[in-house]
Symmetry: D2
């Protein structure tokens, strides 16, 4: 079909990569022409991921040196941090569009990025051209972008809950915003690390990165872009919970007198296809979005203190937190219905 988008995927041997492959297999306009892997060139995708048998029966990983990425309309980078920035400029120059699922283009302040990611940035001049791909915040810019910095999972989960409240002035300045976040283990990727073994991460719960996590500066940047004067009081603690997929943020905020948080959220997201504000008394659970692109958000006044509210936000970290959001961005960039390939009813149980 002439309308198909010619797509390349760099680094599809991880969980965000295989999730992209799942989504694009049911996308009316996607044609995957090349999937690269340095270590697994020549291997059939479906030999590595038997879930793809019959879906991509013949597609093989191509060595990066042999991949004609510049013939693609769109290239997804589902790579570790530090790869996309070395290849982006050349592709952009040839008119290729890019969606980078790694962190290379997320942070505008280059020294901040270099401090947290412990690398020298390869193309700092390209960073300002990249649009932060949170459609609910930047929909119009995304439509016209050539390169998208696809957001991190924690930043997506937290920012979607705060965005309307900060924008409409519902939160009191100089009060803490505390995001106590819990992630499933797939967020740690598909590398053979002892900490992510079933016998280590299973039947176990722990905090990690409390002294500083890379998603902290990204969330602070988002907060600052929405409203000045809140980022300095933002506290973020990630935890690992024995789920495969799923992310849950519990966010403690102080409201301005008279602010109606749920109403503000509901109105802001009234036209949104993927953000769902729950009615009073219902709290979200991660499985209610499993394998789908939804984010569900609840608001609860504390029984304890005046103006103290708790926000609850859940996403599937591989979907709205990674590959699903990337496809949503692709749809916007190519003028397609925003939910093409994403009309997925969550898998429950």
């Amino acid at each position: 079909m002439s309308e198909k988008i010619n797509i390349g995927i760099v680094g599809a041997t991880g969980y965000t990569g295989v999730e992209l492959l799942r989504l694009l297999s049911n996308h009316a306009n996607a044609h995957i022409s090349v999937v690269t892997s340095r270590g697994d060139a020549g291997t059939k995708l479906c030999d590595m991921f038997p879930s793809l048998r019959g879906v991509y029966p013949d597609l093989c990983f191509t060595h990066p040196d042999d991949a004609k990425l510049d013939a693609c309309d769109l290239v997804f980078f589902a790579t570790p941090n530090g790869i996309a920035m070395t290849q982006a400029v050349e592709l952009l120059d040839k008119g290729v569009k890019i969606i980078d699922l790694s962190a290379d283009f997320r942070i505008r302040d280059i020294p901040v990025w270099e401090k947290w990611y412990k690398m020298t940035h390869a193309c700092p001049n390209t960073v300002p051209k990249a649009v932060y791909g949170l459609p609910e915040m930047n929909r119009d810019k995304i439509k016209n972008a050539q390169i998208i910095a696809n957001p991190g999972c924690y930043p997506t989960c937290v920012t979607l809950a705060l965005l309307p409240l900060l924008k409409q002035g519902c939160l009191k300045k100089n009060t803490p915003i505390i995001a106590d976040c819990k992630s499933g283990v797939s967020g740690a990727g598909r590398k053979g690390a002892v900490a992510n073994l079933l016998c280590e991460a299973g039947d176990n719960f722990k905090a990690y990165g409390a002294a500083g996590h890379r998603h902290l500066p990204e969330i602070k940047q988002n907060i600052n872009n929405i409203a000045v004067g809140f980022a300095d009081n933002f506290i973020f603690v990630p935890h690992l919970t024995p789920l495969i997929r799923g992310m849950h943020a519990t966010i403690y905020v102080t409201a301005e007198n008279g602010a109606d948080l749920r109403k503000t959220l509901a109105e802001f997201y009234s036209g949104s296809l993927f953000v769902d504000i729950l009615p009073q008394g219902m709290l979200p659970e991660t499985r209610s979005v499993r394998a789908s692109n939804f984010c569900r958000i609840a608001v609860q006044k504390t029984p304890e203190m005046e103006n103290a509210y708790i926000l609850f936000s859940v996403i599937d970290n591989l979907m709205k937190g990674a590959a699903g959001q990337a496809v949503q961005n692709m749809n916007l960039m190519f003028g397609l219905p925003e939910n093409e390939g994403l009309k997925i009813t969550p898998v429950l149980p």
Copy 2:
């Protein structure tokens, strides 16, 4: 749209019911007009299953007494055993088609059914009209059936592996066929039983029903319908494994001299949309079919004994083992593409 099939679902508060609702939400020809529940009449579906928020925003459970099931083109029974048989005759008389996901119409021998299910059958004369809904065995009969007995999960998983081998005479008579089967916990349904609590079934593995399980006579009937003289040597042991979804059968058989089991399976299923025969050396895992309608089967010669082979068969018990197969049957009954609503890439990880 005029081509929509008008569908009723009886008893959609269990896992096969919510799975049917998930599948039909992405089916081009399905219109769900009524969903019944005695205990939850008036409740919105999406209040019970928040995964359905936005998918069926307004649909409520209807009390059976108020449900106009006879106005439907098709009624699914996702009920406990013993319900469908009390309502089927009346609906059939009015020209409604029926797919029964319970066991009421699976066993032709009424005394055998009554012994295993410990009830008197309410409509024994209707049983012969019901077609056993395993499409790979009965595709043509299903197309013309008015009532379908949707197979059990274990019988589906085991029969698909044995069907071509028995049919083509690949197995030696008077030798045991041993099916050591493992099921996820969703097979036990969504009732509050202590044995299925996370703290009982989690981090635990056990056999159950070794002295006799209701799926035993169903599998024996299937074997007998394919080839005479094998059912008496069939041994079946089910086990419970801490998965939500997934079923794995390990089947020990003795081959006739010279039989090529993998080739026989591959040829038989060469045109099948949902049965996948794995290449030599690859064994199936349950997650390779998670949330999809596939069955994947492998064959392995034992290193120990001549002509001793092991078959490995996996399905998602809620999909090919229940709701997915039901939709496949519906497609056949209504002349639709067999995989309409079932073009689902498995969810991995």
Copy 3:
């Protein structure tokens, strides 16, 4: 042996009951003379809990009407709320000691108790005699008590982290104390509730009781007993995480200038057998205390705000959060070494 304590257990068919049985089976001074159950009288304990085969080969559940509890030295109540209060007075009058693992004697303010537990208290005059059985707070009182209100799991996990800090004036008044808590599913007990099925609570994470949980007034009472002026700013949100055992509290506090939180904790617990303060940079994980009576606590300064600290506290909810603490209290009441029967190295992995 003459030194054995004659013990009765009321209601040992739940998880705290079977945990008590596990602990007492390795306790040098325990002799279990009677275990009651209304529904399972006559059943061998080891037929209900096969883990106890060989441990209590002949012990059977006794019907409450036949149980001579007044012949015991000590009676544990491992019952639902509302049972112990109906039997305590008579036993106390006969000189029997009581450790109540339910909530009947935890709250001093009877109207508060009746509001949260939705019952009329059966013996309000006995409540003041009950000692709150948190040994690290009330060790001396416990030694002389005749009746112990064994603390709830969340209150134990949270109070142990706050106790030394509140006592030593380390926390700033009029600032929030936020306890974001996560519990394994065994805390919900061994009743057949749909919400606790493996297929509901497994592979899922959610908050619950955010509008008000019964452990809230208990924690507030503890805070008030330690230091005045903090309980009103206390916020508590419990979450359910797919563990069998384990509880994790993440507590956000604001310190007084110059306070050294870790040092204060370490000094306070320097002689404690069960509370372990982790060194700088180490965060606790629930499995590090699995099946043991330990509580491990870490302190982390936030990278974001001055004087903002995070406390991390983990326990096994069935041990230090229930049965383990009960045995610790028994040891104190009977002048035994505090860790008799509790010298358990955690089970990892």
Copy 4:
């Protein structure tokens, strides 16, 4: 204390190593004097395994070059295959006793060992001196042994079920013995392999090693040592199930006419401290032995075929399948009560 056994552990950074450390921490006669690790020399044990904080507060890993293993009374090898065989001879010459938890000394037929383990054996002459450490089979030999080959987990679980039946002639010759086995993931060890990640092995079930697993020749050797003429018909298929600990064997056998399998098992194990034969109608579950040294075995006649029986055997793979059995062997070698350090009530739930 003068009666303490001076113990060294080589390679305690894996799961069998930390399990040994757990058991020996509650053993009246154990003194651990040295624990070696090449990669982690100088690290405190409790920094790697926080479950050991307070238990071994000061013990550090020693570099093998600095370890005075020859000053020990007993050395455990909890190492990968191929290490113990390079150090055993020297230690034996100095009078040290050895319990090897790896496979180096399990197989008498050196070429068979070398074929399955793909190495040249370093000390083939020592192999005949090693006693196979299955106490229920070799108790007297173990008491006098200087070196013990501690059995594999699958061989323990399967052999204990077959031993009395083969010994007493209960099984029919020239019929298959099929062992369909399921193991928790800790059996695969604590190395960072992708296949054992929570996101790969969790919520998943699969067979592996069906074409040949290293425990096959070990089980065949056991069968042959008990009764001639059965090993050639032995079929073994291992599966991976999402448990941390636990192993379940389902074994299909054909009995001689008139043989009473349960009675034979019960009589054989009547004096055994760790093998428990379940009554008719009860099937074992893995959690009934969690963290303990028990093996529980059930017998079930099939409802299908005459003389066809099914045996069910469960162990904790890290306990009776590894470290627990090693301590049992140590107790026998040093004339201690066989269950010293092993009087552990299983952890349930």
